[in-house]
């Protein structure tokens, strides 16, 4: 994959998909990547990437989507122009400051090399980091934990939500943070007598005992960090459990706990087979809180934003053509979002294959020209300062990292 400015790319048409091998110089400054952070947001259900970063410069886009296309910039409900060819869905307006200050980039036509249109398989591959291989037992973020050049603590990795996702499966323990206000509630196990009694039940090294000890330790840390804030929040109006609230928690946790390296969120509700809407509607109503949550994270982190990269991805894209129900079915290529310090942002990356009939994958879907793993690899190299051998352990057989995505 080549980083590219679209106009330059068109001039240099024929440059093809050649991958520039990752150079040694790019990670020369490897040491000291210790408190770099990576936040991954997985949009489960396959978000319609063509209505996230809208190719408003293509007539084919509007031909394929008579009722659900986002209008061209400047029109009523129009896309927010990014580079003359692509525009952002208007519900994502909260992210325009990041785009303008160069800390937000998009990689359209990215995705998995595997052809599956099954949500479950595709998410599984995106989380295991090994497309096409079902036997991989662990998730790539768990493997990444073992490669980080830092001393691990019980809060090195945070997973938001009640169950541990596939992406964090593996030998290294990961803390789960409850969503919303529940995070800072005290529990009876905080009391010494009760704590001591249960400790004796869970003294072993089996999976339950480890989970028990991990749970108590991370509960204590999270509670300590959040309690002051939560008490204040309890006095105000009860706010709904939203992504914005959880990213605000994360920002606060990171500020107080420098040992947090990885965090993961999964958001659902993107499987818009029916009535997905255009500038308004079902998809827009989900995009808006997502954008506001991400923008809130960026501002909430303050100076720590410079040491944080946020990656937003989804298992596959959706059909170029709208279906019979003003929705879209399972497709192939999607768009990845990369936000944070050190990003070569304000730019569209990757090679855009176009939406004309001859360019579509299996005559129906946006093609994949950038393997999702090469985007992750670029972040691991440029941001987390991992060496190629380490990246190969996190993402085995992944294509080379894209050096253009990160400022070096």
């Amino acid at each position: 994959m080549v980083s590219f400015d679209r106009r330059k790319f068109l001039q240099a048409a024929g440059a093809g998909t050649a991958l520039i091998p990752f150079g040694r110089a790019a990670f020369a400054a490897a040491a000291g990547g210790g408190n770099k952070r990576l936040v991954v947001v997985l949009l489960r259900g396959a978000v319609d990437g063509l209505n996230v970063v809208v190719p408003h410069g293509e007539t084919a886009y509007y031909d394929a989507r008579p009722t659900i296309a986002v209008p061209r910039p400047g029109r009523d409900g129009g896309a927010l122009d990014l580079d003359g060819h692509f525009g952002l869905h208007p519900a994502l307006a909260a992210l325009m400051p990041q785009w303008r200050d160069g800390t937000l980039a998009f990689v359209p036509a990215s995705g998995s090399p595997d052809e599956t249109r099954s949500h479950f398989d595709a998410q599984d591959y995106m989380e295991s980091g090994t497309p096409g291989q079902k036997s991989t037992a662990d998730g790539w973020m768990n493997r990444l934990l073992t490669e980080l050049p830092v001393k691990r603590t019980s809060t090195s990795a945070l997973s938001f939500g009640p169950t541990l996702p596939r992406i964090f499966a593996g030998p290294v323990d990961v803390a789960t943070v409850p969503l919303g206000r529940a995070a800072a509630n005290p529990i009876p196990l905080d009391r010494p007598v009760i704590n001591a009694a249960f400790d004796q039940l869970y003294t072993g090294e089996d999976t339950l005992a480890r989970a028990y000890r991990e749970g108590l330790e991370s509960h204590k840390k999270v509670m300590k960090d959040l309690q002051a804030d939560m008490m204040a929040a309890d006095n105000g109006a009860p706010s709904p459990i939203t992504f914005g609230q959880d990213t605000a928690h994360l920002a606060q946790l990171i500020k107080q706990d420098p040992s947090i390296n990885l965090a993961f969120f999964a958001l659902g509700g993107w499987d818009t087979h029916v009535n997905q809407g255009a500038s308004d509607g079902q998809l827009a109503s989900r995009l808006q809180p997502l954008a506001e949550g991400l923008a809130g994270l960026a501002t909430g982190l303050g100076k720590d934003y410079q040491d944080t990269v946020v990656l937003v991805m989804s298992e596959f894209g959706r059909t170029v053509h709208e279906n019979g129900n003003r929705g879209t079915d399972h497709g192939h290529g999607n768009v990845m979002w990369v936000m944070g310090g050190g990003i070569n942002g304000g730019k569209i990356h990757g090679r855009w294959p176009g939406l004309d009939a001859a360019s579509l994958y299996e005559k129906r879907d946006l093609a994949v020209t950038t393997d999702f793993r090469s985007v992750i690899a670029a972040v691991l190299a440029g941001h987390m300062k991992l060496a190629p051998a380490q990246i190969a352990r996190v993402l085995p057989a992944a294509p080379s990292a894209d050096p253009g995505l990160m400022r070096t």
């Binding site: 789960t176 509630n185 529990i187 009876p188 339950l208």
Partner: protein, 497 residues
Amino acid sequence: MPDIALARHLADRLGFGPRPGDLDYIAKRGPDSWIEEQLHPAAALPKDVAARLDQLTTLKMTPVETFIAYGPPALQGVQDPEQRKEIQQRGRIVPAEAIEARILRAVYSPRQLEESLVDFWFNHFNVFDAKGLDRVWIGTYERDAIRPHVLGRFRDLLGATARHPAMLFYLDNWQNTAPGSPGAHGNFKGLNENYARELMELHTLGVDGGYSQDDVITLAKILTGWGFGDGSRMAAPGDDQARRKRGGAGKRPPRGSFVFAENRHDFSDKTLLGHRIPGKGEAEGDQALDLLARHPATAKRISYKLAQYFIADEPPPAVVDAGGATFAKTDGDIKAVLKTLFARAEFRDPATFNTRFKTPLRYVVSSLRATGATVRNFRPAFGMLQQLGQPIYGCITPDGYRCTEAAWLNADAMTRRITYALALAAGRLPLSEIPADQPPAPRGGAGRRQGHEPPVNAEALVATLGGISDKTRAVVAAAQPELRAALILGSPDFMRG
């Protein structure tokens, strides 16, 4: 006391764990005889539970009736936003009653295998109660499409789910339309592959079952027109029968009951998985369901899933093969497949006893059974299931909740389960309160409310469970008396089954 250990194993695996006295009953009856009893359920619910279920009125209504009472017709002509909100709130009774019935049956039904299978098959054919109209159909879906068939023929389950409005709505097939057909208009304009894909990937063959994207499209074409009445005339319940007389020209069928809309069907001849399916209308769908139900990949997949649910996260291949062979030989007789699985030495090997990490549902229900709790208020249990990430009818995706340790064991789950165990053991959950309209949200946090129920007696609990491990026994003996029952319910022994 090997009989008691095996009895505990059977109670944990076939059902949701023992209630006081259950293990003696199973041991006295003998394991094989008890398994037979469970495979041919005849016992009735306790009278007071049956009486309570009898009060849940929405569970006696047809899908058409719940649609009319709580769906869009109830809002027709109502302009006042406050009044609309009030009507919509009223509709919450449908999922609430279904959840209450599910929890009460799981806790109290003597037909424990049947209740486990309702959990299993509902997840296999999952629908999500908060997706649009499914909120008015969730209870009838379980009652009509799942429950009657859990020990019957797989093909019957498949057919019943395929025609139930809850599934037709959840996976969008109700709008699946042949492009250019006479009935194609508005939102019914073209193919929608969603149901066709999940029907093969999740309900039958499995993702590696040998179908292609072309097969998905072909199956979607076969299922064009499978839906429910278009809703433009809201019919009275009695019209359901009139609808069945096909060709009542101008008469629109009521939404909420299955309808094959031939004016939206693709009548071309088709080839699915290499088999010719001539274009003949609704019968094509049944032919496709026959084909999928009898496919070898389906036999293997169903056997694997059942063996995983009842035996081990990674079921022994020989067991899966045996179950699959029975499935194929008996044309998908679920009872016969289960009989094969339960007879296997691998299932009865004492080394497998108490090794499966309970799902949140099994953990919560087994705790209410073991403590002999009087459950009149299902909300503390449901609140706990929400906290643990497994609210009943709340799985958004069509693959349903998983049953493995990897899916449910994590650090947060352990502290939450123990918090709940402490509250239950101390009698702090308001379980016997008659549910009011807005009971306090259960928090599971001990110390918030005092003395709702008598505290759980630790000795009685140990007797019900047929003993506890040496390690747990030692810790319990050394602990303050008021912590003992909580330590048992929060012990590794009780987290597993």
